[in-house]
């Protein structure tokens, strides 16, 4: 499966994860919803939607975890009739990332969790040092960054422009 990344250090660990865990889709994103890397998606619109939903699910699960357990939940698993999804958090020195993955009966939750642990370790080891002047994501930059990331993931053709309502 082909990997497309915005940040190159994610490529090798994500490729290993996808190959070994035999997942159908994988997406690495910032908690803000910006895509960092993807595998298995063919349409940029799907990536945008998946990023938004994964970021929202992650935020919800984190808050729910804080509410019931005093700390955020680290993983979220949903099993559908044919496909399952797993969302986990990866902590690196460059900040936290979210990984969304979709798998079917070719894999299993146990395998995905096991290889996700490996992915977390490899990403933590490969992550670059954080930028000193890194600023929070602002709404005005978010659209531009999102479009730039999607263009890098899918090429320039057929860009989807996001506009403020």
């Amino acid at each position: 499966m082909k990997i497309a990344t915005v940040e190159s250090w994610v490529a090798t660990p994500l490729q290993s994860f996808v190959d070994e865990a035999r997942v159908q889709l994988a997406l690495v994103l910032h908690p803000s919803g910006q895509a960092v890397a993807q595998a298995g998606f063919t349409r940029r619109m799907d990536v945008m939607t998946a990023c938004a939903l994964a970021a929202a699910s992650h935020a919800t699960a984190s808050e729910l975890g804080r509410y019931v357990d005093g700390k955020p939940f680290r993983g979220l698993h949903y099993a559908g009739p044919d496909k399952q999804l797993f969302i986990g958090t990866v902590e690196t020195r460059a900040g936290a990332y979210i990984c969304l993955t979709v798998f079917d009966e070719e894999s299993s939750l146990g395998l995905v969790r096991m290889y996700f642990d490996d992915l977390s370790r490899e990403l933590a080891a490969a992550a670059p040092a954080p930028l000193e002047n890194r600023t929070d994501v602002l709404a005005v930059d978010f659209e531009a960054d999102l479009n730039k990331n999607l263009a890098m993931l899918f090429g320039r053709g057929g860009d989807v422009i996001i506009r403020n309502a």
Partner: protein, 135 residues
């Protein structure tokens, strides 16, 4: 509160050379119950053994060989043995290379019988008693 599988796991873990015994969900590859010696990664064993058992079961079916009765993987530093009873649960044992596989196979198949005595895959009271008596 002890799980309904504690007796089965106790019997298996008491065999010489057994490092870990686990009840694993074949579909999810996660531990249902386990008795794991210090230093063994139960989650990793469960995920890989369940995947291996599932692949073997599907391969045997595709080859029209019927159900898998016993699965054994011999590796340089140990063995993995697994049996499943047609449901989702698989019994997995990890042993040293020198362990007596014949004895372990017999105990695994006996443990499997206790699964099949009840419809829900849980060991019956009689099977639990049998396990207690064999201590």
């Amino acid at each position: 509160m002890s799980s309904p599988f504690a007796t089965i796991l106790d019997v298996l873990t008491r065999q010489r050379g057994v490092r870990a015994s686990l009840i694993v969900s074949e579909r999810d590859g996660v531990i249902v119950d386990a008795s794991v010696r210090f230093g063994q990664d139960g989650d990793r064993i469960a995920a890989l053994a369940a995947s291996m058992y599932r692949k073997a079961r599907l391969s045997a079916r595709a080859a029209r060989l019927g159900a898998v009765s016993f699965l054994q993987l011999d590796a340089e530093r140990g063995r993995i043995c697994a049996v499943g009873g047609g449901g989702d649960l698989v019994i997995v044992v990890v042993t040293d290379p020198q362990a007596n596989v014949g004895l372990i196979r017999m105990e695994l198949l006996k443990a499997l019988d206790t699964f099949q005595e009840t419809d829900d895959g849980l060991p019956s009271e009689g099977a639990k008693r049998q396990g207690e008596e064999s201590r």
